[in-house]
Each structure stands twice: as C-alpha cells, then as structure tokens.
C-alpha cells in the first residue's frame, strides 16, 4: 500500500500523471490508487472533474443551443450530445 502523503508529494513537481503512471511510480496497484483518490476527494483534498461533462452544455445564448433536443442539450455545432464522452476524469489538489 502506498502513502497518500507520498502521492501528494509526487504531485508537487507540477507534472500530470495518469492513474496507471501513479501506480507504477508508487509501486502499488491501480485499485490502491483509486481508493486513495476517492478518499482524498471525499475529504476535500482533491477535486474530481469529469472532463466529458465540461463544455457548452449550458451556453443558452448560443444560436445552436437546444436545437430541438431538450432544455439542456449542447449546441450541435460545438459538441456531441452529452459532451465529449471519452475525455477521462481529472483530480486536482484543492
């Protein structure tokens, strides 16, 4: 099991890391990293953002917004329906 403090210390170098890279760097399993991320997120140490949900889903003044697809649909000209769905998730230190 890796230490959460060690994980946060690693992040201080400012470099981005994937969950897999972190697991390799801390010589632990992906599950161990995932539970640490979950814990730190719940404790308010990390903030989780689903990148697929970021985007123009709320730009109600855009001419292409809600083009017949419901109140919260994104602009057909900006993003696929539901946003970019395969953009992953990021955690940032709060």
């Amino acid at each position: 099991m890796a230490s959460m403090n060690e994980l946060l210390t690693l992040l201080k170098d400012g470099n981005a890391r994937s969950v897999d890279h972190l697991a390799a760097e801390l010589d632990t399993s992906i599950e161990d990293i995932e539970r640490m991320l979950e814990y730190m997120e719940k404790m308010g140490i990390l903030k989780r953002t689903e990148l697929g949900k970021v985007g123009c889903s709320d730009c109600s003044t855009c001419p292409g917004h809600n083009a017949g697809n419901g109140a919260n649909s994104p602009c057909a000209g900006c993003m696929p329906e539901g946003g970019f769905k395969n953009m992953g998730v990021i955690w940032e230190v709060v």
Binding site: S18, G55, C75, G77
Partner: protein, 672 residues
C-alpha cells in the same frame, strides 16, 4: 426499539446495494419522507419474521461517517442517538478494499452491528473467493455473504441479525486503534477524553475524528473539556498535521490486514501499450501528439473533397446563370444579387462545409478512440506553465468548434483569474468558422503548401497563447505553488460510428445554417455598399476603403481584404463572403479596381489574380486571430462579468491580429 419493534439501520456507501436490500426486506411496506429540517430523503419500512415486527431505516448512502455533508451528519447522529437496535453495515464484495471503508469508520461506535458482504454474485463472477467466517473471527461481529437481489437467500442475513441482537456484537477495533496509536498525539488525545463525553461515541472514535479534522467533533470536544485538559487538547489539535491523511492510511492498512487471508485479492498492475507509452511519454509525448494532430489535419482533407467539388460546381454555374439572366433582360442589380451574392456565397459555404465535415470527422474519431484525452494529458504541464488548471484544456478543445462554447466551458474553473485567462487564451484557438475558411483559402492560394500554412497557423496559435498568458497572466493569476493533476485516462476503444456520424452530420448541418445566417446578410450589406450604377468613386465602401488603404496596406491588407477582416469581427464565416461580394460583379467597385481581370469568370481565379500570396497569408493571419465573433464577445462578458476585461481582450486581439498580419505579409514579401 420503537413500540417493542426492533429497529435495524442499514448503513453503506452509495452503490453498495443498500436500497436493494431495503426493498428486499420490506417489500411494499415502506414510506418515504425527509429527515427533520433537511431535504435529505428518509426511507423507513417494516417486515414481520417469526411473528415479530422489525423496522428498517435506510440511512442515506454516504462514503463515511465524517462531517462532510448533511447526509453523513444525519447518518452518524442517527446511529449515535441509539434509535437503532442493530446496524447492518453493507460492503460491496466485488471491491472490498474500497467499500470496507465505511466499516473502518464505524469502528469505535458501540451500537451492535453485523456486516453484509453484498454483491457476492459479482465477486464470484470476478473469480474472488471470500472467507466470511475468517472475517467474522477478525471482526467479532457476524458476517454474511449476500446477493441482495435474490431475496430468497436471506436466511444467512436473518441468522446474523438474530446473533447480533442476541449477543449485542460490537465491532472489534483493537487492531485499528493500534494503527491510530502510531499517529502522533492520538494516544495523548484519547487520554484527555473521558468516556461518555459525547453520547454514542467511544473515546477512540472521537480521538480519531478529532485528529482527522472533523470540525463538529473538534468543536464539541473543545466545549466539553475545560482547564488544563482543554489547553492540552488545543495544543495537540494545532500541532496535528495532515490528520485526515494519517487516519485514512490507518484505516486502509487495517482493511488490508483484515482482507489478508480472507479474499484472494486480484491487484491490477499498470500495463502500458506501445502507443500509450509513446503518447504519454514525458519527453516524446508532445512530439507524438503534434504528429498525430498533423496527420489528422492532412487526413481531414480526404473527406472534405466531395463537398469541395460540389462547391466548385455551384461556382461554375455562375457564368451561365449570369448570361441567361442578362439575355432574359433581368436588371443588372438582380443579376448581381443572384449571382454575386447568393450563388457565390453558396459556393463558398459548401466548400467550407467540406472542411468542417473533414475536421470534425477526424478529430471526433480521435476523441472517440481515446486519443484526445491523452492530448490534454500530455499538454497539462504546458497549461501549468501558462498558470492554468488541467480543466482549462476542455474549453480550449471546445473552442476548436466554437469560442462561445469554450467561454461557457470555462465556467467549471473556480478561480476567477484563471477563468478569465482561460477565456482570453481560448480566443486564440481558431474556431469552427476559422477552420471552415482557412483550409479553403490556403488550398486556393498555396495548393499542396496548404498543410504547411495550417501547421504555421497552429504554431502561431501556441505562440499567441503563450504570449497572451504572459501579458495577462501576471495580473490575473499570481504565481503560486502548483500541484500536478491526476488523470484517469479512458481505455482505447473502437469508435461508435453511428454516434460519431450523427455528430459530424449534426455539426455540419448546424454550421451550414449558422453560416447561411451570417454570410449572406454580411455579404449582401457589403455588396450593396460597394454597388454603384455610375462612377465607382460614388460607392460608399470605395470611398472609405481607399481613404484608409494607405494604413491597412502596412498590414498587407488592401482595402477589400481589410473590409473582409472587419466583417470577420462579426462572424469569421462572413469574411470570404465579403471578399466574394467585393471582388465580383459587373457594375460594382470590382470592375474599377481589377481592370482586365474582371473578365475572369471563376471567383477562385479572380482572387488568385488579384491577391498576392503575401497578402493572402496576411489576410488569413488577420482573420484567424481576430476577435472570434460578436456572440463570443457577449459570452466572454457573461462569464467574466467584466466589461473592462472583455474590452481589453477584444482590443488586444484586434491589435495582435493586425500585428501578425503585418509580420506574415513582410515575411511573405521576402519569400515570394
């Protein structure tokens, strides 16, 4: 006990199957309300067994018993109140390392409990073998494996329930407390807390929560203690550093210890494919990404070709239509409107759409496959150097489609300065409208060199963003310690073609409608301003244009190009339409300024004959890096709530776009 009925509280994390078990136990005998004074849903139900009635309280699904949310406070207050005779703690058997966290947080609470390892069927499918008896011995509470969806298999659960009620089984937390004891200050703190100081909680539990940083527990202890004990308590608390991390690690170690010999754990070690290794490599990743993007841009020309052909076919219709209308005695003004405004605009629009289709298809496919996520990952460090968060990457990506979407997407950035800076930089990203005209113009003027021109524009974009970050960053984002982000990269998978094509066609159609709305009116206005039945000097646009041309020429823009540049501030799609209006048609200013070339029928040839390559390059730079459009300016104001910053960014982009045009023009003069 309530009126002689036994109360069972169901406690578990979200997705542990708590609601399934609640429904399985109570059937239709349940009622839903709210917890007093809160908007959190309260579910209670009942069931009879062996002539005895049991009340089941479905506590809110929470990660832990910390005071981080209303749900967590409600849950732990309910348990501490003693209303429940027994607590049924649920854990997800398929991921015990994570889901046992609730059990570890319960340790130290002395209300009788038992553990249900739910989703046993899922764990079995994963090949996991769980020894519930061994776990029961370690915990000193009844433990049962269960699939809550199968309500005919609840015998083991009822047996545990009976045992927990009869034996008043309390969770053995000795080994967890040993872990806590290794945290500096824990034992000393525990010694200060008299038993029963806060009803329902043990001193161990309270000490651990105080170390963790639980504000409610800390405040209650501070109020309950007095004299030297209070002073010591406050000294320990103020000297506690990273308490949440330390108590969390103690719990994880305890869980790992519990699971040793209880479950055959399958730990997934990271495995990197060759492409993944290359694209996420610290040194070479950016180069691989750049090559992928260049490849994508080149590839996007292929699906663009059919629509480009259609556009050129429409353009080829202009001379015969013009001749036919003239022979039929149609007024010159009407012929001009039909041929030089409507047909010419339509020809350009369709050619533009070819590129919109191609670029959207290729980059949509890269996103579907999972490459775009890796691109944002690789460039996160660059974001950091610009003073931005990892989240800023999405507004930038969205801006490739629409700057307004990018500005709206910056809403997720909490820090105002970073949000404004993200929007300011998103303006430098060529939007869908720019991507619809730039490839077309660069193909027209530079032939096979178009790809190189596009690469240069992308490099200028990066440089522009870097310079803009330096210009505005110091004011907006003061330098501070920056942590790297962690990213869960999506797995690679085959694109879902039907969804992708729906998006690509949707986007192409949306762009077509939007472009029609922008191009034709702008084109018509400029064409009318340039129209004159008599001497060319009489047209308004000619007068204005020739008056300012000595200045605009410095930037490599003759007056027609400059007017098209001005029109691009309203919407970039309009720029080419304006060019078409100003460079085409009998009776317009065009005839006077293009002389012999006026006899050339095809507008592509007209532009090629009258605009030199350095001017074309200057025009593309000016239009690409001009303010995106009126709507994007409005969106920027809406997001930043600052007229000052919106105006400042707009003025900055106008100046920089002309400066870039000037540089491109003079470099172009040296080359051609």
């Amino acid at each position: 006990m309530i009126d002689g009925k036994t109360v069972i509280a169901l406690l578990g994390q979200p997705n542990s199957g708590k609601s399934t078990l609640f429904n399985g136990l109570t059937g239709m005998k349940q009622h839903v309300g709210n917890w007093p004074g809160k908007t959190v849903e309260k579910k209670e139900g009942s069931f009879f067994r062996n002539g005895k009635e049991y009340i089941v309280a479905d506590l809110p699904g929470t990660y832990s018993l910390s005071a981080n949310s209303d749900e967590e406070i409600i849950t732990r207050d309910y348990i501490a109140s003693g209303k429940a005779d027994v607590v049924c703690i649920l854990a997800d058997s398929s991921q015990l390392e994570r889901s046992m966290f609730m059990l570890s947080d319960y340790a130290g609470i002395e209300v009788p409990c038992f553990l249900v390892l739910n989703l046993a069927d899922v764990a079995e499918d994963q090949g996991k073998k769980i020894n519930a008896d061994a776990l029961q011995k370690k915990l000193s509470i009844p433990v049962v494996l269960l699939s809550a969806t199968d309500n005919k298999s609840y015998d083991g659960l009822y047996k545990c329930l009976d045992e927990a009620l009869k034996e008043k089984t309390v969770l053995n937390a000795d080994s967890l407390i040993s872990e806590y004891s290794q945290i500096e200050g824990f034992d000393e703190l525990k010694g200060l807390i008299p038993a029963g100081i806060i009803s329902g909680y043990s001193t161990n539990w309270l000490a651990a929560k105080a170390i963790e940083g639980d504000k409610i527990v800390r405040d209650k202890l501070s109020q309950a203690l007095s004299g030297s004990d209070k002073t010591k308590y406050e000294s320990i608390i103020s000297n506690t550093d990273k308490g949440a991390l330390k108590t969390g690690e103690s719990k994880f170690k305890w869980i790992d210890g519990l699971l040793d010999g209880v479950v055959n754990r399958v730990e997934t070690k990271p495995v990197f494919g060759k492409f993944d290794k290359a694209i996420t490599d610290k040194r070479w990743g950016k180069l691989v990404v750049i090559l992928v993007v260049i490849g994508g841009l080149i590839g996007s020309f292929i699906p663009a070709l059919p629509l480009m052909g259609v556009g050129m076919a429409i353009s080829a219709l202009i001379p015969p239509v013009s001749s036919a209308m003239t022979s039929a005695g149609a007024p010159a003004l009407l012929t001009g409107i039909v041929c030089n405004v409507l047909l010419q605009s339509l020809a350009f629009i369709v050619q533009m759409l070819g590129f919109v289709f191609g670029v959207t298809l290729v980059f949509g496919m890269l996103e579907e496959i999972g490459v775009m996520a890796r691109i944002s990952y690789v460039f996160d460090n660059t974001m950091g150097k610009l003073g931005l968060q990892g989240k800023s990457v999405m507004p930038f990506l969205v801006s490739f489609g629409c700057t307004m979407g990018g500005a709206a997407g910056a809403r997720v950035i909490d820090n105002w300065g970073q949000k404004v800076l993200t929007i300011a930089l998103a303006w430098a990203v060529p939007c869908g409208a720019a991507w619809s005209i730039i490839p077309m113009l660069s193909t027209m003027f530079f032939g096979p060199g178009a790809v190189l021109v596009i690469i240069i524009i992308l490099l200028v974009m990066i440089l522009h963003m870097w310079v803009t970050a330096k210009v505005f960053g110091a004011k907006l984002v003061p330098a501070s310690e920056r942590y790297g982000m962690i990213m869960e990269l999506p797995p690679y998978h085959k694109p879902k073609w039907s969804a992708l094509l729906r998006y690509v066609f949707g986007r192409t159609k949306d762009t077509f409608l939007r472009v029609i709305k922008v191009v034709i009116p702008i084109c018509a206005v400029f064409w009318l301003l340039s129209y004159s039945t008599g001497s060319v000097e009489e047209s308004i646009l000619y007068k204005i244009g020739t008056a300012i041309e000595p200045v605009t020429k410095v930037f490599g823009l003759n007056w027609q190009l400059f007017m098209a540049y001005v029109a691009s501030s309203v919407g970039k799609e309009g720029a080419v339409g304006v060019l078409s209006a100003l460079y085409s048609g009998t009776g317009t200013v065009f005839g006077a300024v293009t002389g012999a070339n006026a006899s050339v029928d095809n507008l592509n040839q007209l532009l090629l004959s009258n605009i030199a390559k350095p001017e074309a390059l200057a025009f593309m730079m000016a239009v690409t890096f001009n303010v995106p459009c009126i709507v994007a300016i409005a969106a920027t104001y809406q997001e930043t709530h600052s007229a000052k910053w919106t105006g400042l960014i707009a003025a900055y982009y106008t100046v920089v776009s002309l400066l870039l045009a000037c540089i491109a023009y003079h470099i172009g003069l040296l080359i051609w």
